[in-house]
Amino acid sequence: MLTNFRNSFFGACCLLFAGCATTPQTTLYDKLGGEPGIHNIVENLVQEIGRDEQVFHYFAQSRVSRFKENLIEHFCAISDGPCQYTGDNMVDIHTGMNINERDFNHLVDLLINAMDDEGIPHRIQNQLIARLAPLREEIIYR
């Protein structure tokens, strides 16, 4: 009887603490709409790039499906989602592309359009851009 009580007491405690530990800590990943949200953002971005004269040539040789998968995984990982980025590193991907500053910023504008289309609020957009911004030096003029 006592043991039962103890067990259930500890059980309750465990539940309680476990409950605390998983209290919804909203990640940026959640704010971006989780897996479907990020999927749509990347889908929109690919559409934007496909229509864009200024930067399309950088992507003309890419395999669209692989590009999408890698970008979804990257956005997921960088926004604290349940993913690990398994793609190549930024320097390797962009070496030889010689992306300049202007085109990089234009791509940021396209990403903003893509997020606008998915209804991501301005303040959430800024948080994703803030996490991607430090990668710029590994991307441009390579």
Partner: protein
């Protein structure tokens, strides 16, 4: 009228070519002495949307109307490869009490020494000079100024923090200026009585960007008081609208303190910059 002409010119020529390599709103606007900056303060950003591979040219006009004075400025900047900015500005300062205009020309150069306000880890740093010359120094000399021309040297640091304040982008700029100008040079330079008056003053701006197109901010500009006329520091509250990378419109409320014996000079300010 001048503003309308400027707008029309902009609308037509912008169709031809415009530097657009920076993110919207990040270059700021044009300050009263012609440099890229806020309204009063030259910022570390170079004027216009030219990136490292582009040349940018901009034109601007600004008008301020406080209790006993008006200031009208028009000018232009040319920026090369986001490395160096050249600027010219022509100022007309109307003194209501005397019903006369004081005119001053300002030539400026600014070089980016380090960084990018959005992407570099540390703030963008630029070094600039502004050479100023009065057309007619009569008023300046009457008030006791020593010279009719002078040169300011300034060092500016600026940073945009992405999503920093409640998710909004936050910009700040601090500028240290070595100057001997009285009321930015409109009342001459130095003091005939006290000789060389060069000193270092601090200027600062900060703004929050509410969305991609709208910035709300404040500025502060410390001023020397060479003439013993209780020259006050300047401050303003501004709202700037960037509908696209071709034009920006700014409105501000100014507090200029005491100017040559006239106390409490407050009023409105409007500015338009066109970017090519």
């Amino acid at each position: 009228m001048r503003h309308i002409l400027l707008l029309l010119t902009l609308t037509f020529t912008s169709q031809l070519y415009a530097a657009d390599g920076k993110l919207l709103a990040t270059p700021g606007i044009s300050q009263i002495e012609g440099a890229g900056g806020g309204g009063f303060v030259p910022w570390a950003q170079l004027a216009g949307y030219g990136s490292r591979d582009e040349i940018a040219a901009n034109v601007f006009c600004s008008g301020a109307n406080v209790d006993d004075y008006d200031l009208h400025v028009c000018g232009a900047q040319a920026t090369f490869y986001d490395r160096v900015e050249f600027s010219v500005a022509k100022q007309k300062f109307h003194v209501d009490a005397l019903n006369l205009n004081i005119k001053q020309h300002v030539l400026g150069v600014k070089a980016r020494l380090y960084g990018d306000i959005v992407y570099s880890r540390f703030p963008q740093i630029s070094l600039g000079i502004q050479h100023k010359k009065l057309d007619d120094p009569t008023v300046a000399y009457l008030l006791g100024a020593d010279e009719d021309s002078g040169t300011d040297v300034y060092l500016a640091a600026s940073k945009l923090h992405l999503g920093a304040i409640g998710g909004y982008n936050w910009l700040w700029n601090i500028t240290a200026r070595s100057t001997e100008a009285n009321q930015t040079g409109l009342l001459g330079f130095g003091s005939a009585e006290r000789g060389n008056q060069r000193e270092i003053v601090l200027e600062a701006s900060t703004a929050i960007l509410f969305g991609r197109h709208l910035a709300l901010g404040v500025e502060y500009r410390q001023k020397p008081d060479n003439l013993g006329l209780k020259e006050d520091d300047w401050s303003n509250v501004f709202v700037a609208w960037f509908p696209n990378k071709v034009i920006s419109l700014t409105a501000a409320w100014l507090d200029l303190g005491e100017i040559a014996g006239a106390k409490n000079q407050k009023g409105a300010y409007f500015s338009v910059t066109g970017y090519f």
